[in-house]
Amino acid sequence: MTNLRYDDTEEALRATVRALLRAHSPWSAVLARVDGAESYDPGLWRRLAVDLGLAGLAVPEALGGAGAGFREVAVVLEELGRAAAPVPYLGHAVAVRALLSCVETKLLSELAAGEQIAVLAVPFATPPGPLPEHVVVDGGDLTGTIVGVADALPAGLLLVPATDGLYLVEAGGPGVSRVPVVSLDATRQLCDIALDAAPGRRIATGHTAIGAVTDALTAGAALLAAEQVGVAQWCLDTTVEYVRQRHQFGRPVGSFQAVKHRLADVWVGVTEARAVARYAADCLASDSVDTPVAAALAQAYCGEVAVTAAQECVQLHGGIGFTWEHPAHLYLKRAKSAAIGFGTADRHRAKLATLVDLPG
């Protein structure tokens, strides 16, 4: 049966991840990195993925993973969203989902250990749907351009959908170039990938390849919703804290109804988004037949909630919320980018029209 709650082990996992992020990725560090040379944080990835073993949460124990599942992955993502943490956890989880459909056991073991980061090489804005065809294959070598890929900069392995199947390409190998993109969300920097006769190993063909990519993108849409819940929750908590202590006209600004009612609406949105995201994670974890609906619903709903929460965060902070020195903008940019990630809400509504039989 559908379980929309968090169980005790999931709450314990949340506490562990939150404590680690508080200690090693405070917003001041995230903000500093935005102006730095290296946008992703390899030290933080090592602590999360390797030391805590979170890279392999969804990988079966027999393959060296934790044998947990995507419900737990979603809990980690909520916390990463809450911290706007610059680690390629979402991209890596999506790649793991693709490889689970390909039964790539050896590779999964490597990814579970966290030593190797993999991503599905498609534009971040790609919704679940037809296999993207950016890349052509000639004699086993891949050529083509894939723009705006998330989490690929720190990755060692690229899963590249091509005309005749899904290929594994060494990100640092010959014929591969990755050009960093000046990204709206600098905490999840994109890159443009150019393949020029890059050697690849085909790991799936035909329906298996199509299924693997579809499953991975569906998982991405579902899991991104958890991250959006985390982003929205941070924005709500931070704004509530601020309007309690900020005084104008001799009163806390949080005592004005005009402010309270807006925050109450944000709270309702976050509360609903949490139920929706939890449903998507639960469907994903149990391989439910309703997963495509749950994932489309999640991206039709949660992205907007996160964007609204971030916009209200900026607005209700007033002047300080419009500055670079305050972290609100990190979350605004994260939220707005995520609303496009794995397809915008209108595309997911169009998808739902087909899935639940509401023809146009």
Partner: protein, 387 residues
Amino acid sequence: MGDDFAAADRLRDRVAAFLGQHDPHGDRIEFLRARFDAGLAWVHHPIGLGGLDVPRHLQPVVDAAFVLAGAPDNQPRRNSIGLGMAAPTLLRHGTPDQHHRFLRPLWTGEEIWCQLFSEPGAGSDLAGVTTRAVRDGDDWLVTGQKVWTSMAHQARWGILLARTDPELPKHRGMTYFVCDLSAPGVQVRPLRQLTGEAEFNEVFLTDVRLPDSLRLGAVGEGWQVARTTLMNERVSIGGAPMAREGGMIGLLTRTWRERADLRTPGRHDEILRLWVRAEAARLTALRLRQQLVAGEPGPEGSAVKLSFAGLAQAISGTEVELLGADGLRHDDWSLRSPTEPDLLGRGATYRYLRARGNSIEGGTSEILRNIIAERVLGLPAEPRVDR
């Protein structure tokens, strides 16, 4: 959870034993009285008051076992104010004599209850009630006007908030009573709503004599007692979990699917947006229910009430427009007094009109936002001049 499974098994055994001694197909009221006396009415109530002193979340186990046996129920929708609001208040604040007098016939449905709280001058600001209760020997004489009283025309008893000391600040000058609706001086008139029907009543009280034994809680503590009642108004969620496209959204999607001639691109996205909102609200209610069953009640109930109101209004508004020319017709304006609104059985224009009340009744959406902001988010209260 292991303990819960064992407790549930013991409860099922109790129901089976009870059914062995009482014929579920015999006299309905006798059966219900016996069920109350066996502690199988409200399992979380104390022994002797309809319960067995076990956790509340085990109640569905007992209810399901009775349903399975084809036993009659207490028709809870006929007495929703009594069961949902009066009973928890009586239990918490009543004397042993009051417990024994009122709880059993309330639960069996032999006595229907109503709520005499709102007044023409006291809506959202309930503490502004001006209905007066004046001491007269061992009795009280009550005079005033109450409004928005559903079930008053069928009720035997009403929970009443009245002012006993107009000199004190308003929150401290009230006392809570059980009002006898059969007493002389009580006049009930139907209150016609903008839908044409009258679900509610106005109740006029003129020198209604109530013995002091009908006072609930101490003199001057009416507000504290009323808070118990109002908290229960917002936590009660009844019935079975809703299925996808259950409720109003299902009527809209059915029309959309059946009437290709009504479709436009703009309306299509609107329908999809409503479907998404309805599904989000449904999953939120389901999550709340799962948390309650697990013994972790959360504040999500306020979100559910707020969303439901907005959603019902949006869906029914779209439905009327989607119907185009047919949306100009109304099914019936005649004055009727239904026990509860027939939201799904009547036409789209009725739904549209009735849904306007959803954001007013049981706490306006504005008051609900204040409650969320202050009690859930911990924001400071508005400065007040009336305390």
